[in-house]
């Protein structure tokens, strides 16, 4: 194992160490535990940065280490059956390591202040540790088994973090919902893994791809290959909150805001996208198409919902869903690098947005607390407004993030988004699915609109409550520094020196397309042609996106800043539409009414069935015998006395009848004897 991989292992396990320490001795450290966690993550960050550079400046090959975890000592269709696991570091991993550790570190830092005095302060940091560990695990593993393992662990840790304030029922519910909805996705993931395993008897990426490359197809049918790809994608649907499993993410906002920043902006939800990127080589054209549509639909739905939300975190949550849809769409259309890049850039500015909102909410809380107002919702943007002057740093950083997410030039967001849109155009050019780019651009506009709506309503204009505004202060350094770092990272030059095109930046240099493994007959457009086409579409995409984004921003200003257009009037005019969007397309209601209700209903029915019928038939306790018991008082004692069995129930009855011949009259007995004799004679003589 080469030294860099030992570093990678170190990076992986440092957060776990922090977790172990804090979970067992957290009580003892109390206030200190935050610092401890942060220190560990700082070290982690440094290591991963080091690893990043050493990877980037080394020759472009994958560092891989694989060993046999379980050997079943048997052979299935001439392949020895064993579970190989291991870790690998390629450029994607290196980047992801930095992203994860960086965001995680900043969140640790931010939380020092934000979570101060929390009931389970140390537990909180411990959970952050385990989460970071599992997330890094997903990133460094080189096989689907470990991937699934860490996948589940991420689910667990997010469950713990979302439900951090489990005294609140809503929080507990949200945690549960997140876990179970993810489980649904994981189910598909697991089935996909089963297909792969049964076919290739290995789960390492390299092994699988080389097998497919060698023309080995699951159950000899490309449809099964497509199915396998899509089933694995189900995992992504769950984790990356894609339609139709996006419902858990907004509820997950019940967790502490920094957690939202870490999990629901930068890392966990990105895991899905990462999974798709990892699986990219085995995805057939059909699979990619489906994925693209899933992404597009998600992006659209989420964006429409985001427009009408008033809770600042809800808005961000839906924008996250929408952006994730963007990434998935990007990967789906085949713009691999663009998708990954958007994942990275988005990680920075969305985390920033969440932390910023956190800082705002923090301030609002203090203010409200100060006036002893416990009814006003600290997260509702309508109660904010005019915070610009009061919290300048928060405002300016949030402005930068908003510009980035809206895809305004000179921001990182612009670069990645632009590439994705170009990709969609190229995609439609090749197979004429023009709806994809249309959605893409439309959503870009929507994004710009609702993000600026949030910005304007929350920060500009006037604050309607004088007394409250007086108590609002800028957050302390420990919270603002992370904001500033992330703001800096939201500028273009970190990714490409050319502010208008990323395609020649280092990112595109290093993050090259993986070689497609699937047979040419079912493969998507060959990479070279596709990249070529993207170049052609690039300028068009740039102009269109900038224009549409500008429109969105303009609309936002006219509506909410200059108040030229009355939002309320619109709302009234389009009441049904508004409520439809406000109620999030009624997805939760739908699911509750169908899946949840159905499951619970069936469960109840079955439980009854089990008690009454199965039990009744097989062992006849229950109503039948009870009824009899009432009928003949004598029976009850017998029933309780152990005639639990249905056969026994009949036995009891027949026994009861048989008794009646025992009349006590000797002659009756003799008659019976004679009858028996006669019967025998009949039997023989006939």
């Amino acid at each position: 194992m080469i030294p860099q991989l030992t570093i990678a292992l170190a990076i992986l396990f440092i957060p776990l160490v922090s977790f172990v320490i804090l979970i067992f001795f957290g009580k003892r450290f109390a206030e200190k535990s935050g610092l401890i966690g942060t220190a560990f993550l700082g070290a982690d960050l440094l290591l991963s940065v080091y690893l990043f550079f050493s990877k980037m400046f080394s020759e472009d090959k994958v560092w891989d280490f694989t060993f046999t975890w379980i050997d079943l000592h048997t052979v299935i269709n001439s392949i020895p059956l064993k579970l190989d696991i291991g870790i690998m570091v390629d450029n994607l991993t290196a980047v992801m390591l930095v992203v994860v550790t960086l965001i995680s570190f900043l969140v640790h830092l931010f939380s020092l202040e934000y979570m101060k005095g929390d009931v389970r302060y140390s537990r909180y940091y411990a959970n952050l540790g385990i989460f970071t560990f599992s997330m890094l695990g997903i990133v460094v593993t080189n096989n689907y088994l470990l991937m699934y393992v860490f996948w589940e662990l991420v689910g667990l840790s997010s469950y713990l973090l979302i439900g951090h304030w489990y005294e609140k029922k809503s929080a507990a519910d949200a945690g549960k919902k997140a876990f179970i909805v993810n489980r649904v996705g994981d189910l598909g993931f697991f089935i996909g893994i089963m297909i792969v395993w049964v076919q290739f008897s290995t789960l390492t990426f390299s092994g699988i791809f080389s097998a497919i490359g060698g023309g080995n197809i699951p159950f000899g049918s490309t449809n099964w290959l497509t199915a396998a790809g899509l089933l694995i994608f189900c995992g992504a649907i769950g984790k990356s909150a894609q339609f139709p499993l996006h419902v858990w993410l907004p509820d997950a906002m019940e967790g502490p805001t920094p957690v939202s920043a870490l999990i629901h902006a930068a890392t966990m939800v990105a895991a899905g996208v990462y999974l798709v990127a990892r699986t990219f080589p085995m995805l057939t054209a059909d699979a990619l198409l489906v994925i693209a549509y899933f992404g597009a639909v998600t992006a659209f739905i989420a964006a429409t919902i985001a427009i009408v939300q008033n809770d600042i975190k809800k808005i961000l949550a839906y924008s996250t869903v929408s952006q994730l849809g963007y990434m998935v769409m990007g990967l789906g259309v085949g713009a691999y690098t663009a998708g990954v890049m958007h994942l990275v850039t988005h990680a920075a500015f969305k985390a920033g947005l969440f932390l910023a909102s956190g800082s705002v909410i923090h301030a609002m809380h203090h203010a409200l607390h100060h006036q002893g107002d416990h009814h006003t919702d600290a997260q509702d943007i309508r109660f904010m407004g005019g915070l610009k002057s009061k919290m300048p740093i928060t405002f300016w950083t949030i402005l930068i993030f908003t510009l980035a997410i809206s895809g305004v030039p000179f921001t990182s967001g612009f670069l990645s988004k632009d590439e994705i849109l170009a990709g969609t155009l190229a995609f439609s050019h090749f197979n004429g699915h023009t709806i994809i780019p249309i959605i893409g651009f439309f959503v870009a506009g929507l994004t710009a609109f609702y993000m600026f709506r949030m910005l304007i309503v929350a920060f500009m204009g006037e604050h309607q409550n004088k007394e409250r505004i007086a108590h609002i202060h800028e957050s302390p350094r420990v919270m603002t520094v992370p904001l500033m770092v992330l703001a800096a990272l939201s500028f273009f030059f970190f990714f490409s020196l050319n502010p208008l095109s990323a395609s020649h930046g280092w990112f595109f240099e290093k993050m090259t397309y993986p070689t497609v493994a699937v047979p040419a007959t079912v493969a998507a457009t060959p990479t070279e042609e596709f990249v070529e086409e993207i170049h052609h579409q690039h300028n068009l995409a740039m102009i269109l996106s900038v224009g549409i984004a500008g429109l969105g921003i303009l609309l936002a200003f006219t509506t909410y800043f200059w108040k030229k257009i009355s939002a309320d009037a619109f709302e009234k005019a389009l009441k049904p539409v508004h409520t439809f969007l406000y109620r999030k397309w009624y997805f939760d209601e739908l699911y509750d009414a169908t899946f949840v209700a159905a499951t619970m209903g069936i469960a109840k029915i079955l439980a009854w069935f089990d008690g009454a019928i199965v039990d009744g038939i097989v062992n006849g306790a229950g109503h039948v015998t009870k009824f009899i018991a009432v009928v003949s008082g004598k029976f009850d004692s017998i029933v309780v006395d152990g005639l639990v069995n249905f056969t026994a129930f009949t036995a009891g009855i027949s026994g009861r009848l048989l008794r009646t011949v025992q009349t006590g009259k000797i002659q009756t007995y003799i008659i019976f004897a004679i009858a028996g004799m006669m019967a025998l004679m009949m039997f023989y003589i006939g």
């Binding site: 017998i638 006395d641 152990g642 005639l643 056969t647 026994a648 036995a651 009891g652 027949s654 026994g655 009861r656 048989l658 008794r659 011949v661 025992q662 006590g664 000797i666 009756t668 007995y669 003799i670 019976f672 004897a673 009858a675 028996g676 004799m677 025998l680 004679m681 039997f683 023989y684 003589i685």
Partner: protein, 499 residues
């Protein structure tokens, strides 16, 4: 002539000893009216002497008294069972308040027991139809009186009357059957009958009627459905000791006689090329499926009705009917291992059934009731006694590691070996049903609490403990080490030849 008779007499020494004993007992009672203890000692001594002299009959296989009586291992085996049970019964009677209450007539009691014993010992050996009838009657007559021994008690008297009428009736029918057989074959010696029948000259219809008539007699003696009706009433009414004796010894005698009669009369020993140890019936006599019906009816009815009993004596009566059903299964097989299975079952049955009755007796002595509901909470009041009863009941159910399991196991082995799977299934299902009522007693003793928790621990003398142990130990021992038992039974059955 005379010396042959004398010589033959030397083979029925055990019977003679018992006969002598009963005379002595009678005299002793006339002499000293009080000491019932003396009587017990005398009879026990006599019985043990008989038991000892029986051992000298091992391996002897002759037919004495011009073929009237055959002294063979088969008979010896059952004689041992009978004498053993008699010994146990005599001891039980010693401890039974019910019996000891009848101080004045106690002598008759032992006299009756012993004469029953003698009668039965002759029964198992008799190989001539008329002798069979006579011995059967002799044993019956004595049991009529014995079951009515506690004259004061109404139910006891009623029991004896019912027993009398039913017994006399069925033995009469049997006799009529015998007379027809005689007419058909011109002989009363069962071996002779067999020879005639094998030639097939006999009239089939008459033969069937006759054999059914005879079956009635046997059916009554072993209380097989539908000739069992007397059993519950008599068992309930008679003194507990007598009930126990009837349920084991007289049943054993009946079975032995029946087995001998059928094997020797109705089995065609000329048929060749059968699997070793299996027999075929003389054609025209399909007695086998009749027995099959009997056995199924017997065990099923016994079990089903037993579920409803509240009086323990009566419950045990029905349970003993059911047990007879299992034993009949062994007959149905018509093979050596079937028969040996029955014999093994009897040894096992001797211990577990007498054991159960004995505990019931001891408890009745104390709480003066045989009602199952009065057994609630006894587990606390006397662990040892109740645990022993539990073991006996479990053994009657036929669960390992008790002897009862081995008994049933051998029966089922013989059935499966004869590929009679269907009837075997009925058998095992019956043993499941039987669990209901056996477990009810156990439940009352251990799971339920008595009406009054204050009731004291039951105390009882060492002698009674020893007797209990001597019944308990074999019940457990044979469950795990049944080597010699099986061996003995198989040797004893093989007088019927390897065919």
């Amino acid at each position: 002539m005379l010396d042959t008779i004398l010589n033959n007499l030397s083979h029925i020494v055990p019977e003679l000893i018992v006969t002598a004993t009963l005379c002595v007992v009678l005299l002793a009672h006339l002499i000293s009216r009080k000491s019932s203890q003396l009587l017990t000692i005398l009879s026990i001594a006599g019985l043990f002497a008989a038991l000892y002299s029986l051992t000298s009959n091992f391996g002897i296989n002759i037919s004495a008294f011009s073929g009237m009586l055959s002294i063979d291992p088969f008979a010896t085996f059952f004689k041992i069972v009978i004498v053993l049970s008699t010994i146990v019964i005599v001891l039980m009677s010693r401890f039974s308040d019910e019996v000891n209450a009848e101080q004045k007539t106690i002598g008759e009691y032992y006299f009756l027991i012993l004469s029953m014993c003698v009668a039965m010992m002759f029964m198992v050996g008799s190989s001539n139809l008329i002798l069979m009838y006579l011995t059967l009657e002799l044993s019956s007559l004595t049991s009529y009186i014995a079951s009515g021994f506690t004259r004061k008690a109404k139910d006891s008297s009623e029991a004896s009357l019912k027993y009398l009428l039913y017994g006399a009736f069925s033995s009469g029918v049997m006799l009529y059957g015998i007379s027809i057989i005689y007419g058909l074959t011109g002989t009363l010696d069962i071996a002779g009958v067999n020879q005639v029948l094998v030639q097939g000259s006999a009239n089939n219809l008459a033969l069937i009627i006759a054999s059914i008539f005879i079956l009635v007699g046997f059916g009554y003696k072993i209380s097989a459905v539908p000739f069992h009706f007397w059993t519950p009433d008599v068992y309930e009414g008679a003194p507990l000791t007598i009930t126990a004796y009837l349920s084991v010894a007289s049943k054993a005698a009946g079975f032995a006689m029946m087995m001998r009669a059928f094997k020797v009369m109705f089995i065609d020993s000329s048929v060749m090329n059968l699997p070793a140890g299996t027999w075929t019936l003389i054609n025209g006599i399909h007695i086998q499926n009749a027995l099959m019906i009997f056995s199924v009816l017997t065990m099923t009815l016994g079990n089903l009705v037993a579920i409803w009993q509240k009086n323990l004596k009566r419950l045990l009566a029905y349970s003993s009917i059911a047990q007879a059903g299992y034993m009949l299964l062994g007959l149905v097989v018509l093979s050596n291992d079937g028969f040996s299975a029955v014999m093994i079952y009897f040894v096992v049955y001797l211990f577990m059934n007498l054991g159960a009755f004995y505990v019931v007796l001891l408890i009745a002595n104390k709480i003066g009731s045989e009602n199952i509901d009065d057994y609630k909470g006894l587990g606390r009041r006397n662990p040892f006694l109740t645990v022993a009863l539990a073991v006996f009941l479990v053994s009657l159910t036929g669960l390992p590691p008790t002897a009862g399991f081995i008994g049933k196991w051998m029966i089922f082995i013989s059935l499966i070996n004869a590929k009679m799977v269907g009837i075997a299934v009925i058998g095992v299902l019956n043993s499941v049903i039987s669990l209901y009522y056996y477990i009810r007693i156990i439940r009352n003793m251990f799971l339920r609490d008595g009406v009054d928790q204050t009731t004291p621990v039951i105390e009882y003398p060492l002698a009674q403990k020893i007797l209990l142990l001597s019944l308990l130990v074999p019940t457990l021992y044979f469950g795990l080490f049944f080597n010699e038992l099986v061996q003995f039974a198989q040797i004893s059955v093989s007088i019927f030849g390897s065919k």
